[in-house]
């Protein structure tokens, strides 16, 4: 497609850099600087999409991020393979470049002929909220029949189908002044704010280049020079300042607490030459001392019948296409306006060679100098006229207009031919970010808009976003805001700039004599919300604007109501005959414009999603065929299958080896905390249930920790290395919270204690040797430590060296067997492991993983906190009341243990369960009942917490929490299975008697 509507010269496009874009399979031509919207218009293509509900043909309404209608599916990197496509891109902000493949959405079979448009005919039924009133019969038809049909009809584009190959970046930044918006106010603010070289200034703008509305402006002057010259000078000045970061293509979308403002920068989508792997977008998380909001304003559409025809555009947008992109959106233009600013569009279009007429709602007497200017330029202006309707199919072809009598009556109608319409209902300051900052809005009746009132955070608004529309005033306001933001004088000199046409007469719905219940005059274009929908909502009692929004969905589309909110609000206020503030304003929430999930995630994808913590021995495990499992952030070796083994076979081998010879296990992930200081023992007394004073140096003790509410929190072996030094171990998952829990009490309840806590989890690699041959394996490598039973009994600790490496050697066991835990500095972990493993070959050493560890501990009845306990278990519930000191007056959790329901009879208690069929392994999590024949709901008396096939026991074993369980040992119960129940007997929770040298000796 060539460019029949491209002007011969002018525009901010580079005619030396032609480019093409694929549009619905056809080739669009354009130039660097174009958007897809300007290319479409240059080719004469106005039809750009189908509406959400009625599938009406829609064109391009706007030139910016407020575009509600021209939404495209864009494949950004078609040449690089699948996965670069996403839906719902605004044609008006997609910068054109070679290689883009774009398609229109929400139609079948084609854009021009869409079967879905039948909905437009059914629209008398599809009014606001119609779905609340029907589709209720038959009862199950809603989600089986009606809903799937509705869902299929709804939605806009197609979701991406492939994993996204793009990268996304993140950047935390700090600024003395952040300025959002680089139009005249923002540039002016940046100039004064950055004049002090010690102030860091960030200036961000959503557009491809700075300038804001001045980019569309060929006639205004500033200080006697063309406005864009001033912009270029300003940008050059800012570029030259080291203290300024200028960010084009960067949208401030979220204003969060404490001046945390989030921006998203489009880094590479506009670049045909972007290297693969360069971030697509970057999230800027700016913490600013001061913020200047210079976010401009949005033009309001006018509401009349068929105001959604392709070719009907916002007036300023039409001007932008003519001036900035050198495109004529048609030959015959009618400007319909309630605002003076649209006359500038008429004048510029006329100057560009279009046939132009103006229909002004206002009476001639209410107009300003713009009226004479238009008439002087030879433009026919019909003041005091209204638009009854637009005519046309896939493109506007004419407007039916009529004079409005002084009594409001509609005069004789006139049909004016045209092929494009520019409309303006005046302006709405863009207060989104201000509102997000929690600033309070005030309604300014003078300009019929909400403007910023009281700031809550350190920010100020400047320019059009606070209702200033005259260029000179905007610039002065910007300079003042920038100066104010750095604590300077807020009263700069006036700025000389050409006067703008300002002023407008608010109008909600254009007067018409048509039956309002029969016509469609759109308020929200994308969601197909019409005037009659809003009237219906109010009629049905939805009077708060939030109710109206929710009932009609006005303002809820992807443009988030930028063009529709004020018209909807004004309409509701008019119907209720209340002032607008009494109807309320919606609270703006992030984001200002939609932001990709990718940008919000940043680098936290794939291998950078969550850190994978690996132990020093992980490499050995990987080389030796370990199957891993995630445990919190850690990955741990679960079992070590040999050729042909499944998990059960590997488990059988590993668990038998530990009880018959020796096993080696990587326990490095255990949390470890060094507790040091003169008051270390006293601290331990208070934080654990056990008493610690009598634990001698060199001794170990199993410690139990409660939360203040009395429930089991964590456990682990604690060694006393010296009078003032404890080596505490915690569960793998519990390490961070246990340290925090300890620090909390230490710092906030007992600051008088002289004791310090240091995490040493990762200082030490921990190699567990467990089994009758453990000593034999270890002995040759130990120096300075005697390993004999008498010299080094169970539950003691010694320091020395292993393999010549400094070592904290624990004689402990989580298997019931003779066992050692060899703690060596982490960097030596793998070497010591390898040495011991190699030397252990002659003893039949077998590496085992977490799964075998669980089986082995269960065989001897040791609990795992978090498996047998679930945050609702007391020490007594899990049979550990012996670890709760009776003599200590207080420890964390003690008082809670005596609350009535904590000591009540019938609590669930830890017991063993033995299935009747010894080969049957219960499901972990199975529920236990006394009588499987009882009716539902059944009385559940407990649940299975751990269950394994135990090779050492020659049968299955299970642990369970059973109501009053210890008193029920010997009783037969039934546990659930995937298909029914199975019989089991309650037993003590110890299943295996260790032969030979036991841990409990």
């Amino acid at each position: 497609m060539s460019q029949p509507f491209r002007r011969a010269s002018g525009g901010r496009i580079d005619r030396n850099r032609p480019l093409t874009v694929s549009f619905n399979g056809k080739t669009l031509e354009g130039f660097a600087g174009d958007t897809v919207a300007s290319m479409l218009l240059a080719s004469g293509q106005h039809l750009a999409g189908r509406s959400f509900k009625y599938h009406r043909p829609r064109g391009i309404l706007s030139h910016g991020s407020d575009e509600p209608s021209a939404l495209l599916s864009v494949d950004w990197r078609h040449d690089r393979g699948p996965g670069y496509r996403d839906p719902n891109n605004r044609a008006s902000v997609v910068e054109a470049r070679d290689g883009l493949v774009v398609k229109t959405q929400n139609h079948w079979p084609s854009l021009a002929l869409d079967i879905g448009a039948v909905n437009d005919l059914l629209s008398p039924i599809f009014v606001a909220g119609f779905y609340y009133k029907t589709f209720m019969w038959p009862k199950r038809f809603w989600d089986k029949v009606y809903e799937p049909i509705i869902r299929k009809a709804a939605g806009l584009g197609e979701a991406p189908e492939y994993p996204d190959p793009d990268h996304y970046a993140n950047r935390h930044a700090h600024a003395d002044v952040l300025i959002v918006g680089a139009g005249p106010a923002g540039l002016a603010a940046a100039l004064t704010a950055s004049a002090d070289a010690s102030k860091r200034v960030i200036l961000a703008d959503e557009g491809a280049e700075p300038g804001g509305a001045l980019l569309n402006d060929l006639t205004s002057t500033i200080d006697g020079q063309p406005a864009m010259d001033w912009v270029e000078d300003a940008v050059a000045t800012l570029d030259g300042r080291e203290n300024v970061i200028l960010l084009p293509r960067t949208t401030g979308f979220g204003y969060y607490n404490h001046n945390h403002v989030c921006l998203v920068e489009r880094v590479s989508d506009h670049r045909a030459d972007a290297p693969e792997g360069l971030a697509r977008e970057r999230l800027w998380q700016v913490r600013a001392r001061q913020v200047v909001l210079a976010t401009g304003s949005h033009e309001r559409p006018l509401v009349f019948e068929n105001n959604d025809k392709p070719g009907v555009m916002l007036a300023e947008s039409l001007r932008a296409y003519v001036n900035r992109w050198a495109v004529l959106p048609g030959d015959a233009l009618i400007v319909v306006t309630a605002a003076a600013s649209a006359y500038r569009t008429a004048l510029d279009a006329k100057a560009a060679g279009m046939r132009v007429e103006i229909v002004d709602i206002r009476l001639g007497a209410d107009c300003g100098p713009e009226l004479a200017a238009a008439r002087d330029a030879g433009i026919t202006v019909r003041t005091g006229h209204t638009v009854i309707r637009a005519l046309g199919g896939n493109r506007v072809g004419a407007l039916v207009v009529a004079p409005i009598g002084t009594d409001g009556s509609i005069g004789p109608k006139l049909t004016l031919d045209c092929d494009c319409v520019a409309m303006s209902g005046g302006w709405t300051p863009s207060v989104h970010l201000f509102s997000q900052s929690r600033g309070k809005l005030a309604f300014d009746t003078e300009i019929d808009a909400f403007v910023p009132d009281k700031s809550v955070q350190a920010e100020r608004s400047a320019g059009a976003c606070r209702g200033l529309y005259d260029l000179g005033a905007v610039l002065a306001d910007g300079f003042a805001a920038g100066s104010d933001a750095i604590g300077g004088a807020a009263s700069p000199q006036p700025v000389e700039a050409s006067a703008a046409f300002t002023g407008f007469q608010p109008v909600r719905v254009l007067p018409s004599d048509a039956d309002p219940s029969r016509i469609k005059a759109f308020v929200d274009f994308q969601n197909d919300v019409t005037v009659k929908d809003i009237k219906l909502a109010v009629r049905e009692g939805f009077e708060s604007i939030e109710h109206v929004k929710r009932y009609t969905t006005t303002g809820m589309a992807t443009d988030q109501g930028k063009t529709s909110n004020m018209n909807a609000l004004g309409l509701v206020a008019g119907i209720l005959n209340r002032p607008i503030p009494a109807v309320g304003t919606t609270t703006f929430r992030p984001p200002y414009t939609p932001v990709s999930f990718g940008a919000l995630i940043g680098p936290a994808r794939n291998e950078l999603f969550d850190p994978v913590r690996k132990t020093p021995i992980d490499g050995w495990a990987a080389q030796n065929g370990a199957v891993f499992e995630p445990v919190g952030l850690w990955r741990r070796a679960r079992y070590f299958p040999q050729a042909g083994e499944d998990m059960q076979a590997a488990l059988a081998r590993e668990t038998k080896a530990v009880r018959s010879t020796v096993g080696i296990f990587d326990a490095s992930t255990l949390g470890k905390i060094e507790v040091v200081g003169p008051d270390a023992a006293e601290f331990m007394n208070r934080i654990y249930t056990n008493a610690w004073n009598k634990l001698k140096t060199g001794g170990c003790r199993y410690g139990l920790m409660l939360r203040e509410d009395g429930f089991v929190y964590d456990d682990g072996v604690v060694a006393r290395l010296a009078e003032n030094r404890f080596h505490v171990t915690t569960t793998t998952g519990g390490a961070p919270r246990v340290l925090r829990h300890m620090e909390d009490y230490l710092q906030t309840e007992w600051p008088d204690l002289d004791v310090f806590l240091t995490s040493i989890t990762e200082q030490w690699a921990v190699i567990a040797l467990q089994g009758p041959k453990a000593r034999d394996v270890l002995e040759p490598f130990v120096s300075e430590i005697e390993l004999s039973e008498t010299a080094f009994p169970h539950m003691t600790v010694k320091t020395g060296s292993v393999c010549g490496v400094p070592c904290r050697l624990f004689r402990v066991s989580f298997t019931g067997e003779l066992g050692y835990e060899v703690n060596v500095p982490a960097d030596y972990g793998e070497a010591v492991w390898t040495t011991l493993f190699n030397a252990g070959q002659k003893h039949g050493i077998t590496p085992y993983g977490t799964e075998a560890m669980h089986v082995l501990r269960a065989e001897v009845g040791y609990i795992v906190v978090g498996q047998e306990t679930d945050g609702t278990a007391t020490p007594d519930d899990v049979g550990l009341s012996g670890l709760v000191s009776k003599v200590k007056p207080d420890f964390v959790g003690k008082r809670s243990l005596s609350r009535p329901d904590m000591v009540a009879a019938g609590r669930r208690q830890l017991v063993g369960l033995l299935t009747k069929d010894p080969n049957e392994v219960l499901d972990e999590g199975a529920q236990v009942v006394k009588d499987p024949g009882q009716p539902i709901p059944m009385k559940m008396i407990g649940h299975v917490t751990s269950s394994y096939r135990s090779e050492n026991c020659g049968r299955s074993i299970a642990m369970a929490m059973i109501d009053d369980g210890r008193a029920r040992i010997g009783e037969t119960v039934f546990a659930t299975t995937p298909t029914g129940f199975t019989e089991a007997v309650i037993a003590p929770a110890v299943f295996y008697e260790v032969k030979g040298e036991t841990a409990d000796a």
């Binding site: 203040e708 925090r740 207080d890």
Partner: protein, 98 residues
């Protein structure tokens, strides 16, 4: 994301901190002596005010210190932060200062 002034490190982003809930709920010296109701209240009852709230924060990924803060739960603005063990500042005098 809040910006929190650690009394030891200065202003830092919220992600470095862990909030520990309401401050100045002293753990009873002799818990054994108090009633179940009072103990339950100590464990669970919270002021939960709409307005100034004294709360505990831990600079977990910073200096590791717990401290207290006075924050408005409507605006989320911090009035002040202060070291553990010091009494809650009088918010009226703070307002008077400002």
């Amino acid at each position: 994301m809040l910006l929190i002034r650690c009394p030891y490190c200065g202003e830092r982003p919220e992600t470095e901190f862990h909030c520990g809930g309401e401050a100045h709920i002293a753990r009873p010296d002799t818990p054994a002596d108090i009633s179940d109701a009072d103990w339950g209240s100590f464990l669970y009852t919270r002021t939960n005010p709409k307005g100034l709230h004294a709360e505990r924060w831990l600079h977990a990924h910073g200096c590791g210190r717990w401290f207290n803060a006075l924050r408005d739960t409507v605006s989320d603005a911090f009035v002040t932060t202060y070291e553990m063990g010091t009494p809650r500042p009088d918010p009226i005098s703070e307002t008077a200062k400002a």
